[in-house]
């Protein structure tokens, strides 16, 4: 079962820069993902969206695999041996791994 980001703050802070939330321009246009957070970390643009129960994260415009478990922990098969309570921490960690040249995001 996948859960959404109901508990996520109105702003998502990743690194030092916090950008305002991108509000949906058309509330009637449903399934499309709703942007709820946009920020930069290590010069990478991070956007977090939710669509129903799904969480979607893109880094520099490219989607990365994120899943939320029923225990509300977050996981990515790019970083497979660890779960995270905090989605922004997971995203920062993925970017750190990319900077270490362990994976290309």
């Amino acid at each position: 079962m996948l859960l959404g980001l109901s508990g996520l703050a109105a702003e998502v802070t990743i690194g030092f820069a916090v950008l305002p939330i991108l509000l949906p321009t058309d509330a009637a246009s449903s399934p499309p993902p709703q942007p709820i957070g946009r920020s930069r970390y290590r010069n990478r643009l991070v956007e977090i969206r939710e669509s129903g129960p799904l969480v979607m994260v893109s880094i520099d415009g490219r989607m990365v695999h994120i899943e939320g478990s029923k225990t509300s922990r977050y996981h990515s098969h790019i970083l497979p041996f660890r779960d995270f309570d905090d989605l922004p921490v997971l995203v920062r960690t993925l970017i750190d791994m990319s900077c270490d040249h362990v994976v290309i995001l």
Partner: protein
């Protein structure tokens, strides 16, 4: 394709050949089964593979092992294993679940048993004197090194090479694998690329992405062995059975996951087989499972068996992304069965 042959297993007892049992088993392609049947006598002539503690290998044994690794790395066969590990990890099993073909579910242990066996077969094909895949008995490393497992002899130039150099992007600059180029996953293409600079990435006990400051202890292994059932519903990473405890999700990070996270760097990703320590680590996981299996007679069973489990995770379900499609958890139950696996830990 599933290969099935009737194989008679014989056991040498003193000077007599005594038939033990006749069973129908799948024979993985490439298995060196030599059964002489002219006189109704079946004799398996495949030597038993011996898996030793890496720290107890002689210099010659170590040279054989490292040499074979370098051969299969240079001809590309090593990297095929890295890629298959990632593909298994990216394949929800059953579809839509949070378990995948090789992790976060019951198949975690048998899948890696088969994966290691196929890898070991490849090394033995290159050099039979390798004898078997070594294992890394990591649960005593902290105790034996005054709480600093990175001081283990394992992390020296003569064995697996040292920690990564923080001044050089945490690359391992010396040791037998210093010139290796890892194959890494490219999320933008869902494909793999060869890292353009040499050297594995390691951050022993200091990778923030891993967040594990030490290795598992013997106490953790002892606690693990108090879990007497292999796995329980819902057969995922929330359960309290032996498999999930050993994989390291329940009350984690523990055991398997903790080791990946402590080594850090390349060992943190789905491409973790890039670091040859992966094989030593998983041989130890397999050894821990085998010891647990054989505490009782008959052996403690795999779960789920047939109809009660998720598709792809049951005892007779074929395991995916291995060289052979003949592997199932049931087939992989007995490591000493010479007609299927044929190895032991010493």
């Amino acid at each position: 394709m599933v290969y099935r042959f009737l194989v008679t297993i014989w056991q040498i007892d003193q000077s007599a050949l005594l038939p033990v049992e006749s069973i129908c088993v799948p024979i993985p392609p490439g298995a060196l089964i030599d059964v002489a049947t002219n006189h109704g006598v079946g004799v398996n002539q495949m030597p038993l593979r011996l898996r030793r503690n890496i720290l107890n290998l002689s210099p010659a044994q170590l040279a054989s092992f490292v040499g074979a690794l370098c051969v299969v790395k240079s001809d590309g066969r090593y990297d095929d294993f890295v890629r298959r590990h990632v593909r298994a990890m990216m394949t929800p099993t059953p579809a839509g679940s949070l378990s995948n073909a090789a992790h976060c579910g019951p198949t975690f242990l048998p899948w890696h048993r088969a994966f290691l066996w196929e890898f070991e077969s490849m090394l033995l094909d290159v050099d039979p004197t390798v004898g078997g895949l070594p294992y890394w008995w990591w649960q005593t490393e902290a105790k034996l090194n005054n709480g600093k497992p990175k001081l283990s002899k394992l992390w020296t130039e003569g064995l697996m090479g040292p920690d990564g150099d923080p001044q050089s992007d945490n690359r391992v600059l010396t040791g037998p694998f210093k010139d290796w180029h890892a194959v890494i996953y490219d999320n933008t293409t869902n494909d793999f690329v060869t890292r353009d600079t040499p050297g594995l990435v390691r951050k022993l006990g200091r990778d923030p992405a891993g967040s594990a400051s030490t290795l598992p202890s013997e106490a953790q292994v002892a606690e693990l062995n108090t879990h007497l059932v292999y796995d329980v519903p819902p057969y995922d990473k929330t359960t309290e059975g032996f498999r999930n405890r050993l994989e390291g999700w329940a009350a984690g990070p523990r055991l398997h996951n903790q080791v990946h996270r402590w080594v850090g760097g390349d060992m943190l990703a789905g491409t973790s087989p890039n670091d040859p320590v992966f094989w030593l680590h998983h041989a130890n996981i397999d050894l821990i499972w085998w010891k647990w299996q054989t505490v009782t007679t008959p052996r403690r069973p795999y779960a789920p068996q047939l109809l009660d489990g998720p598709v792809g995770q049951r005892a007779d379900d074929s395991l995916l992304f291995l060289q052979s499609t003949a592997w199932t958890p049931a087939v992989l139950d007995d490591i000493k069965n010479p007609a299927v696996l044929g190895y032991q830990y010493i």
